[in-house]
Symmetry: C2
Subunit: 410 residues, 2 copies
């Protein structure tokens, strides 16, 4: 019997009515002859409320206790979800991450999954139960509750689908699917029918925010097709899968903008082997995650190293760089807080002429100066002034016709 994993985010289970509606989807899939595993997030704004409660008693709450606290949100949802399945006439049973041995490391508030027990779930599925699993949470080797970080329920769902050998993971959310660009920023953006793991990975890490990046990595690694769709209607959403065949000329799948960035420029670093490693391992130790890195040689002895980070890491990054700069003989450090990164993403763009220059020309036509450029196999990103970010995104979207379905682009 095929196994389907359905993941419902917080907005899809925000109140009793929505939980009943979500449960009816699980029941419908069950009645079609599937074994159904549901992964649910905390209801609505509950995680935020619990964080607020924590900060009221401790402005800097220990992370182990935060995980203990926050994991209750999902636990409440799954028990209510199971009750709603019973109301709809089907047997259902809920589990915490701990109860199904969703084993993680002990990095509280951002734990990583190490293994998943499937025995108990499979037993209950074979007994005709719909199984409801609390997303976002796991348990470490000590038996302590861990959480996977914001958006971790996506990761729970895809990882569970992989562990159970489910071929499909449906992710129900409050949007219709994945768009060529954020419709709030480029209102003419259109929904994509399909996108590859690699493309969505670039989009997610760049802030498109539809799916948690780690969940996509799991999907890619274990070949789980992810169907991102609306919990409000039955329209097909966007399938995230391995590279999809594309018609010639359709190279750019989507565009995105990331505004919560700061750029560090380290001027005149000694151009010696190991200096870059020193800098970035120091940043890693300070738990600063670095986006893009650019290094250029300015003389045989000196190089400039610049990198972007998320603004929330600004203080940690400043301290870490202050700490390390003398060791690498850095002459000067500049920090720009008013930058935005506009990116286009598309499998195969590298092997085609004319993609990069089309982007740069679009920005030039819109009178936008490019601070720096980085590229990957499937992505081109330009750093621009923050106040020009939205204009830049629109210019790029129009240049690549992201307001049209892929099949109708020139």
């Amino acid at each position: 019997m095929p196994i389907i994993v359905q993941k419902f985010g917080g907005t899809s289970v925000a109140n009793a009515e929505k939980i009943r509606r979500a449960a009816s989807r699980a029941v419908a899939a069950f009645k079609k002859g599937n074994q159904v595993v549901v992964v649910a997030s905390a209801r609505g704004k509950q995680t935020d409320e619990l964080i607020h409660d924590a900060l009221e008693v401790n402005p800097n709450p220990p992370k182990r206790e935060m995980d203990m606290l926050l994991s209750t949100g999902e636990q409440q949802t799954v028990s209510l979800f199971a009750m709603a399945c019973w109301t709809a006439g089907e047997k259902a049973i809920s589990f915490t991450g701990s109860q199904i041995s969703m084993v993680t490391d002990d990095a509280h508030t951002k734990a990583r999954i190490q293994s998943i027990g499937t025995e108990r779930i499979k037993k209950k599925l074979s007994e005709g139960y719909i199984v409801i699993v609390a997303g976002f949470q796991g348990v470490d080797g000590e038996g302590d509750i861990t959480t996977l970080g914001r958006g971790g329920s996506d990761t729970s769902a895809v990882a569970l689908a992989a562990a159970l050998g489910a071929n499909l993971c449906e992710v129900y959310t409050d949007v219709d699917g994945i768009y060529t660009a954020d419709p709030r920023k480029f209102p003419k953006a259109v929904k994509m029918d399909q996108i590859s793991y690699d493309e969505i990975l670039e989009l997610a890490s760049l802030g498109a925010g539809v799916m948690h990046g780690r969940s996509i990595e799991f999907g890619k690694k274990y070949n789980v097709t992810i169907h991102v769709r609306s919990s409000l209607n039955d329209n097909p959403g966007t399938l995230i899968t391995h590279e999809v065949p594309k018609m010639e000329g359709i190279l750019v799948s989507g565009a995105t903008i990331q505004k919560e960035l700061a750029k560090f420029s380290m001027i005149g670093v000694d151009n010696k082997p190991g200096n870059a490693a020193k800098i970035f391992s120091h940043l890693a130790k300070a738990r600063v995650s670095v986006n893009d890195i650019i290094q250029t040689q300015v003389s045989p002895e000196k190089a400039n190293i610049s990198f972007t980070i998320h603004k929330s890491d600004l203080d940690s990054a400043r301290a870490a760089i202050e700490d390390i700069r003398e060791q690498v003989h850095c002459q000067n450090v500049f920090v720009q807080e008013d930058v935005a990164e506009v990116s286009i993403v598309g499998v195969g763009m590298r092997s085609q002429y004319g993609v990069a220059d089309r982007m740069f020309q679009a920005l030039a036509d819109a009178q936008i100066n490019i601070d720096s450029i980085t590229t990957s196999e499937i992505r081109i990103s330009c750093l621009v002034a923050l106040e020009q970010g939205d204009t830049a995104l629109t210019a790029v979207c129009q240049a690549f016709e992201l307001d049209k379905p892929a099949s109708k682009r020139s």
Copy 2:
């Protein structure tokens, strides 16, 4: 190092300020050189809110899922409590019932404790942590979360104190201690300094409602002194302990009234061995818990059997009796729903003259008719008409001078 268990009820941890205040008590006890284990209930009205949430999705929610849901209330409190201890400068760690192996049977919503693991708690205590344990909850052999029923946090606390070999279990609540009668019903009631397990057991089962009956049984069995005291001040409360020496003449410790009762009278039951057993095992099977039983012989062949039950069990009891009455040849069944039971409790009252008649005289003087009388070693109860219940309680309290401290009674 002495171990103290402190239990905080829902009103004592209802909000951030109260949690901080409760945590400061735990920290104070720790700084005095004790190892401190805290047992906490869900915040304020949270359990009621969760029950409301459940009923919104399922009018008859499965009990396993109810336990999964309700246990989150305590889990939230303990993590917040631990955070508050850190704020106050001490190391603290919270545990669910499952994490400390508070193993119960699988009778969801009213599970009974089978064993408690102390290893993890003792390890953390020896490392200098204040340990915070979620009350009210346990885990069954399958790893499913169970709850101990309303008031079960008291049971968790005393059972933990017993398992840890703690000599003292402090129960913080919103009253100053245990009174000679319910001050809302007899405003002149005074606080008792001490009371024996047996006396409080009779008071609790009769509805005084200060402590959960099962917690007292644990205390008695494992010799844990329980100190019931206010979370709002530092006044000594009431010590519940083994039989306490009393000055001569002080026989009645307290009085109580139970109004949520119904009385069944089964008239003309065949007076054969085994018939009473049949009736009460049938009621037990229907999960009706029976208070007092009176059997009187009316002829060599026939007996009348009457008993009282809690009104919430009325429908189950009616059905069970309807089911069994022909088997025992019962001629008639009467049910009275408008009764109240007034009781006095005191160790040693049986061995003294003048206690029972003083009670009956007080009721007679107040023009109150006694429907029936039952007694135990340390209790005398009179069933009276519901509308005369409060008058009866006041009359009895005055007759035994329960408005004066024990040492000042005549």
